[in-house]
């Protein structure tokens, strides 16, 4: 489908995301629509497991664009994010031609695009498919502050400067989604260049709708029970890591695979690891407390 049609209006974005089984509210759809129209990156923050990464996957699937993912981590640098020279290939070329060529000629030859290893950011700018790609810069808060500086030129000018070659400009502006779990504050410079969306835990109704779309075969009553129980667990104040939508979906799929149709205390105890991922939280939910949560379900 043409990208202008998919991201042509807020309603079209809502429909496109719904078509890919993503339950989005109008606020998020408006942010996606405006990010596409203004050509600005979309910074999505929120609780882990609430569908931040999924947004880019859904948009890539809906627009037919290639999804290019850059997973951020501590120590991520330009070589892993932008480009790197293929040193082995350069060395082999030097060895092959060292007798017949002059050194100056070889130097020009080996610093050519043929010897360039394109990393995600450069790949996104030089993609030449019919549809602009979707660039996902995932968990940017895990990377160093210096890396944010590196992103600034790419995200504001959509260009990369390689000293040996020159400046490479984007053939088509990619749709950029940046996600962060807020483990640290991002720089103001980066935030200024982005539109912003925050994904909170879903309401009960939204969670039921997500369960129905994402877990086929789940009966309505069972989906309601699962969503209600998860909401109750999420409401427990002393949990370190509250379950996100991803955990709810995993748990629902596990219950379905076990052939269960009702939630019991034993079943919750056996499968609680799908929902609660912290050892201290598991200890904080003994049988009596699970009973109490089930009674209120």
């Amino acid at each position: 489908m043409a990208i202008s049609k998919v991201l042509g209006s807020v309603d079209a974005v809502l429909d496109a995301m719904a078509g890919e089984s993503y339950v989005a509210d109008r606020g998020l759809a408006t942010a996606v629509f405006l990010a596409a129209k203004l050509g600005k990156p979309l910074l999505v923050e929120g609780e882990p497991g609430c569908g931040k990464t999924e947004i880019s996957k859904v948009l890539a699937a809906a627009t037919g664009g290639e999804l290019i993912r850059l997973q951020c981590y501590e120590g991520l640098d330009a070589n892993a994010a932008l480009y790197e020279w293929n040193y082995a290939k350069q060395l082999l070329t030097i060895r092959l031609h060292e007798r017949e060529r002059k050194p100056g000629e070889l130097e020009t030859e080996i610093f050519d695009e043929r010897f360039l290893l394109r990393r995600p950011l450069l790949k996104a700018l030089t993609a030449d498919g019919p549809v602009p790609p979707v660039l996902l810069i995932d968990e940017v808060d895990r990377a160093d502050e210096e890396f944010e500086g590196l992103l600034l030129e790419v995200l504001s000018e959509y260009q990369i400067t390689i000293p040996e070659i020159g400046t490479i400009k984007a053939k088509a502006v990619p749709f950029v989604v940046i996600t962060s779990n807020r483990t640290r504050e991002l720089s103001d410079a980066l935030k200024r260049r982005c539109l912003y969306a925050y994904l909170d835990f879903p309401s009960l109704e939204k969670e039921i709708a997500i369960l129905r779309r994402k877990v086929p075969g789940l009966e309505d009553g069972f989906a309601l029970d699962i969503a209600t129980f998860v909401q109750r667990v999420r409401g427990e104040e002393d949990l370190v890591k509250r379950p996100g939508i991803a955990e709810t979906l995993d748990w629902a799929a596990a219950l379905l695979a076990l052939g269960e149709r009702t939630i019991t205390r034993d079943l919750v105890e056996q499968t609680l690891g799908f929902l609660v991922k912290d050892a201290q939280d598991l200890k904080a939910l003994p049988s009596e407390r699970i009973d109490a949560l089930l009674r209120t379900t």
Binding site: T30, E145, D200
Partner: protein, 378 residues
């Protein structure tokens, strides 16, 4: 009221937009010209007559954090209502803290207005228990001597080295890691230019991530100036530093410490420290912090407590909470303002509960002295 025909009344609409940006700035959202232009461009695609679209567009262009999302939504509801613009208070007046206990024994939040929004991210977690020891108002901070501040910076740098958990820019030779082309090439000189011996390097661990939890209760008042200088130095020297204050509630001070010289930062810092009440409940505050901001504690985070350990609450809870931090964090550093005094022994109940889980117990003077201090020896 949203204008019926903005295209025909651009001057009036622009005036109201400027007023909206002013209201947001007065409520702490730093709306820059870039964001203003973003919203203006967004309104070419989303009609201002579509109230929901206008609000969604304002939110995604002007807000840059969950707290700002809540403020933008609340300000939008208040500003673009049926009321004339002159009736909106641009400067939100701050009420003085209560001096008498309310009927239910709990004190109302004095700085965060109720915001009708779906976002529940805590702007500040407020325990808000009434205390007769509550200060009358404000939390003035006096500057320290420039030499003391300079010494503090040296101490902060020393702490950064002592608790560094993150790789820096410099590297060291290692068995495993990235290939060091420069050293490998030099070594290749011994083997007729053949790359036989690959030299490798790893990044030195020279950077730290700090989480400073500062006790601003009445018993710490005498040490405010020194501790404010220490907090400022830590924030300046260790880029990844988040600062929170606590007494009977927890509030983040990091924004107040950003981008200002020392003396200029004292005033916003003093304003940010909300005198909600005295009578420290450290354990309870740490529990609230864990619930609201527990995700900030990682295996590479060093948690720095600035407290005398005087706790009027449950000291067992304090012990359990510090144990949680100890389990999750890289190091626990406790700075007690009395620790440098002759004959000092950490015998308060709170201190006794916390000490088994503390890796480094310091006095503020350890940051100032260049040698012989516990930090230097470390």
């Amino acid at each position: 009221m949203i204008p019926d025909t903005p295209a025909h009344a651009p001057a009036e609409f622009l005036r109201r937009m400027a007023g909206f940006f002013g209201l947001l700035r007065s409520r702490g959202v730093p709306v820059g010209v870039g964001s203003e232009l973003d919203l203006a461009r967004a309104l070419e695609h989303v009609s201002p007559l579509d109230r929901q679209g206008f609000q969604d567009g304002s939110r995604c262009t002007l807000a840059k954090s969950p707290a700002e999302v809540a403020i933008v939504d609340a300000a939008f509801d208040a500003y673009w209502s049926m009321s004339p613009v002159d009736e909106i208070d641009v400067e939100e007046p701050r009420r003085a803290p209560t001096s008498r206990p309310p009927a239910d024994g709990r004190m109302e939040s004095i700085s965060t207005p109720a915001m009708p929004t779906g976002i529940t991210f805590p702007i500040a977690i407020r325990v808000g228990v009434y205390s007769p020891d509550a200060p009358a108002g404000g939390h003035p901070l006096s500057p320290v001597d420039p030499r003391c501040l300079a010494a503090m910076r040296v101490g902060a740098r020393r702490l950064r080295r002592a608790v560094a958990s993150l790789p820096g820019r410099r590297s060291r030779p290692a068995r495993h890691g990235e290939i060091d082309l420069r050293r490998t090439l030099r070594r290749a000189g011994r083997t007729s230019g053949e790359w036989i011996d690959l030299r490798r390097v790893k990044k030195r661990r020279s950077r730290a991530e700090l989480l400073v939890l500062w006790d601003v209760s009445g018993s710490m008042r005498d040490h405010d100036a020194v501790l404010a200088a220490l907090v400022y130095s830590l924030r300046r020297l260790v880029r990844r530093t988040r600062v929170f204050a606590f007494s009977t509630e927890v509030q983040e001070l990091t924004p107040a410490l950003s981008g200002l010289p020392y003396r200029a930062s004292l005033e916003p810092l003093a304003r940010a420290i909300d005198p909600a009440g005295g009578g420290t409940r450290i354990g309870r505050c740490l529990r609230d912090f864990r619930r609201g901001f527990g995700r900030l504690v990682h295996p590479w985070t060093t948690v720095v407590f600035l407290s005398d350990g005087w706790d009027l609450g449950d000291t067992d809870l304090l012990g359990r909470e510090v144990a949680w931090f100890h389990e999750k964090a890289h190091r626990i550093v406790w700075v007690n303002p009395y620790a440098g005094e002759a004959g000092f022994r950490p015998e308060t109940a709170g201190m006794e509960s916390a000490l088994p889980h503390v890796d480094l117990f310091l006095a503020p003077s350890d940051f100032e002295t260049s040698s012989g201090s516990r930090l230097a020896n470390r």
